[in-house]
């Protein structure tokens, strides 16, 4: 059975009124934190106390609180989603921290993710890359029987490993170059291992990568920071797969190219 403990923490939280405000760290003394709480529940407690004092609570994104929606997004002591491997901020529990610890909390920073307020950033660029090619162009209706094309379990599992990406953007926030390569690689790899995805493989990779440039994401520098912070442990092989797919696409000339894409 878990042993519950009480922690007394010192938080340094990034507060920023809006995109144009400069922002800075504000210190909070937070006693009475149960080790059974999640990191976000600790923020709930902090916020309730701030409200009681008439101070504006800290804005942060969250929704499912079980590690799947990709909404929560805090950099904790310099690491996106905090010190524990393979978990999101909402799944990080306070038993990971010790009594008296100082914790710095910042938003997912990147030039492609402007800060909206406090710990909330705008990750619309990820959606726009999907718009550029992260789909199979089928309409609703008229699909063949689902078992018409057998797919090897091995390939389906490889696809699923990549498809597990929750689109949180931790990979971007962890990268010195602000690259979205792990996110993009996951989209490409998910389709690459399925016959349904092959028809558009060239257009997909070229268009998504072109959009990434337009959004201001940097190039991959092979540091693998992204893999280390990814809460879904998306393997870095998806980046290699993406570059292979990209190379292939350049030989076909079927890619639409970045001049035809615009930032919406």
């Amino acid at each position: 059975m878990s042993t519950q403990a009480n922690l007394h923490l010192k938080l340094h939280v990034w507060r920023q009124k809006n995109a144009s405000d400069r922002g800075g760290f504000v210190e909070y003394d937070v006693p009475g934190v149960s080790s059974d709480m999640s990191f976000l529940e600790m923020f709930d407690v902090l916020n309730e106390r701030l409200i009681e004092k008439g101070e504006e609570p800290v804005a942060f994104d969250h929704d499912c609180r079980e590690g799947i929606c990709g909404m929560c997004s805090m950099v904790i002591n310099g690491q996106p989603h905090g010190p524990k491997r393979g978990v999101t901020t909402c799944q990080l529990h306070m038993r990971t921290f010790h009594d008296g610890q100082e914790i710095w909390v910042e938003p997912f920073r990147s030039s492609a993710f402007p800060v909206v307020k406090d710990l909330v950033v705008d990750r619309g660029a990820l959606d726009r890359m999907v718009q550029a090619g992260g789909f199979v162009s089928v309409r609703t209706g008229g699909a063949p029987d689902a078992n018409a094309t057998p797919i090897s379990k091995v390939e389906a599992d490889l696809s699923m490993d990549a498809a597990a990406c929750i689109g949180c953007g931790a990979c971007v926030a962890s990268c010195k170059n602000g690259s979205a390569a792990l996110f993009l690689g996951a989209q490409v790899s998910k389709y690459k291992h399925l016959p349904q995805g092959l028809t558009e493989r060239h257009e997909r990779v070229a268009n998504m990568m072109a959009q990434a440039d337009l959004e201001g994401f940097g190039a991959c520098g092979n540091q693998a920071e992204c893999e280390a912070v990814c809460p879904k442990e998306i393997p870095i092989r998806v980046i290699a797969e993406m570059y292979r797919e990209y190379l292939r696409s350049t030989f076909t000339g079927r890619a639409i190219g970045k001049q035809d894409r615009k930032r919406t």
Binding site: M1, M71, M160
Partner: protein
């Protein structure tokens, strides 16, 4: 109010085909002239928005999260049903239909349920075509597993992330349309009012959650796919943002709200640990394929689970329901858990828990197979509880999970307001008084991909002559929009102006306590009557003493929360009222006064084989309870038994 379900004539297996043949169509050139507002981007909303746009309609889609991919559907774990009969174990459209009607304790509309079963197979085909990586057998065909309330394996899944993969499929179709310019996506926009013009749903008012701007949107039809209201109870398995605002605003504009008391309490969730808790985490029902549920045979047995010998354990589901055992439907399994805990045999510190034990499965299949099937759920469990479920049984307890009730809709999924259509968990249509596992994903996608794209034409074709007349062109300059905007702004100003002492969350928690204690797994007249006093009192206090800090013109999460809690506080009363007036037990609605000698739900078909659809009469006035009688022509009314 007249409730015309518009169920097509003819034998049940022909109704949908015939109806589709007879439905009016909108010509392709005219589709472009229609603008449809889809609120919600979960399975129901995203599939509808994408499909309507593919057909040529102009679509605006709204969601309160920062991306359509983050809708609550993403969290669904276990799977989606379809009548494919790939395992060759005797499944069929009829059997899926039958199981769903029975599972709903004979409180759903047969024609709708049949249609759901009928289109279920096309959903799987569609998802595979989109590249949804469902689990597969080594031979390359799709794999299936079993869910509660069925004796066949008809559930398709993608590890423990089925909802995620299905939503990403619908999301990719939606993003494709956004890229093509046929759908305009408005993320971080919350609908705060429905706008009626000449009695028809013609628009919405939203708040841009980033800038605080209040905006109006005009359209030819409004589609609500805004999900369920489980969060009325404060603690539930739903995502934090799930709310009743969109549907409740529509109710106050004249849409009937059906069966609000039908709420599903899911048997397998991680138990509450303390007051700080903000949500409850589901452990998927699929775990009951391999996990065995038990408690100690003796009261107050405080030994560790491993120290309790086989003979001193009570596998109560297997004992009470030998044919369905651990796969008994949710309402039954939840009630059984409550009974053993009430009996003093619950486990864990609070005594509010039962074991879900995988020791047998691990011995039979090996840890690797179990890990392959449920790895991410086990990991999630360990994250939250700090206990390793490979070594010690999980502790679970029932929690609020799903809302079967919702806005009343006819066979075309149109509410009692012309032009207002409702899809997915937000409507009441297919699950009666209890939903079977893996059926919500099926329903959301059925509604969005395969029903609304046809049935919306019935409405649009009936208004097109008038709408296309240039002198009838509607813009947001119409006074109805100004009026709605004024109402929304007034409400926001009022919330910000109270400057009381208690946070919105504190009120929400109190409401949750009242509902869980008096309108939860077991309900009785006395408790419900008390709740009907306590909720209005709490609401009154809210409007005097809530403290909403910050400003209207920026991102303000407290303001968002306060608006949602204000609606929960009104809606909660309706939920209780419905529970009080339904003097029977059925499915998830268990009235202690109405039970059999061995504690099973006792229906009253003579007086309650109907849908209760509530009609708003004004603040402080008792709403009218309208009734849609339910006819069971194919599956005959019978006592539901899983023994």
């Amino acid at each position: 109010m007249k409730l015309d379900a518009k169920i097509p004539d003819g034998p049940i297996e022909r109704k949908w085909t015939q109806h589709k043949n007879e439905l009016k169509l909108v010509n392709p050139a005219n589709k472009r002239k229609f603008n449809i507002l889809v609120v919600g981007s979960g399975l129901a909303g995203a599939s509808a928005a994408a499909t309507l746009a593919e057909l040529g309609y102009r679509v605006d889609c709204f969601a309160f999260q920062d991306s359509p991919r983050r809708a609550h559907s993403i969290a669904a774990q276990g799977g989606i049903n379809a009548a494919k009969n790939y395992p060759n174990d005797g499944d069929s459209v009829f059997r899926l239909f039958y199981d769903t009607v029975k599972g709903g304790d004979f409180r759903s509309r047969e024609a709708n349920v049949y249609r759901l079963a009928e289109v279920s197979n096309a959903i799987i085909d569609q998802c595979v075509a989109q590249g949804v990586p469902f689990a597969r057998e080594y031979g390359g065909t799709l794999a299936n597993r079993s869910f509660g309330g069925a004796l066949v394996s008809r559930t398709f899944y993608a590890r423990g992330q089925t909802g995620q993969q299905l939503l990403l499929g619908a999301y990719s179709a939606l993003e494709r349309q956004i890229g093509l310019g046929t759908v305009k996506m408005h993320a971080r926009h919350e609908m705060l009012e429905l706008v009626l013009v000449d009695g028809h749903a013609r628009g919405i008012v939203t708040r841009d959650l980033t800038t605080g701007q209040i905006e109006s949107w005009a359209g030819d039809a409004v589609v609500l796919a805004t999900g369920g209201y489980g969060n009325t109870f404060f603690l539930s398995t739903n995502a934090a943002g799930c709310n009743v605002t969109a549907t409740f605003r529509a109710y106050k504009k004249g849409a009937a709200f059906a069966n609000p008391c039908y709420t599903q309490i899911h048997p397998t969730c991680i138990p509450v640990t303390g007051d700080h808790q903000s949500k409850l985490t589901l452990m998927s029902e699929s775990l009951r394929n391999d996990g065995r549920v038990w408690v100690p045979r003796e009261k107050g047995d405080k030994r560790k689970p491993g120290e309790i010998p086989e003979g001193e354990r009570d596998y109560y589901l297997e004992r009470k329901y030998p044919s369905f055992g651990n796969l008994s439907p949710r309402d039954i399994a939840s009630r059984a858990a409550k009974q053993v805990c009430d009996d003093g045999r619950g486990v864990g510190e609070t005594g509010l828990g039962v074991y879900l034990d995988f020791a047998d499965a691990i011995q039979r299949l090996g840890e690797n197979v179990v890990r392959d099937r449920y790895g991410n759920l086990f990991q999630m469990y360990e994250q939250i509880t700090g206990e390793n479920p490979y070594q010690t049984p999980m502790r679970i307890f029932p929690a609020v999970h799903y809302s079967m009730g919702g806005l009343w809709v006819d066979y075309n999924l149109m509410s009692t307001i012309p032009g207002l259509h409702v899809l997915g968990e937000a409507n009441f249509s297919d699950h009666g008084a209890n939903r079977l596992g893996a059926s919500a994903l099926m329903q959301g996608l059925a509604d969005g991909y395969f029903v609304i794209p046809y049935t919306i034409a019935a409405y649009l074709s009936s208004v097109q002559v008038e709408r296309f007349d240039p002198k009838n062109k509607l813009t947001t300059d119409h006074p109805a929009f100004k009026e709605a905007e004024t109402a929304v702004k007034g409400r926001i100003d009022r919330l910000l102006g109270i400057e009381g002492k208690k946070s919105p969350t504190a009120f929400h928690r109190e409401l949750g306590h009242i509902l869980w204690n008096k309108c939860g797994m077991a309900r009785n007249k006395q408790g419900l009557t008390e709740a009907l006093q306590e909720i209005p009192a709490l609401r009154e206090e809210f409007w005097k003493n809530v403290n909403v800090l910050g400003e209207a013109g920026t991102l303000n999460q407290q303001l968002e929360k306060a608006g949602r809690v204000a609606d929960f506080l009104e809606f909660g009363e309706l939920l209780v009222r419905d529970a009080l007036e339904r003097e029977e037990s059925c499915g998830g609605h268990f009235r202690e006064e109405h039970q059999t000698a061995d504690g099973e739900a006792l229906r009253d078909d003579e007086h309650f084989a109907h849908v209760a659809a509530w009609e708003y009469q004004g603040d402080g006035k008792k709403p009218i309870r309208n009734v849609e009688p339910l006819a069971f022509e194919t599956v005959h009314l019978a006592t539901r038994s899983y023994k």
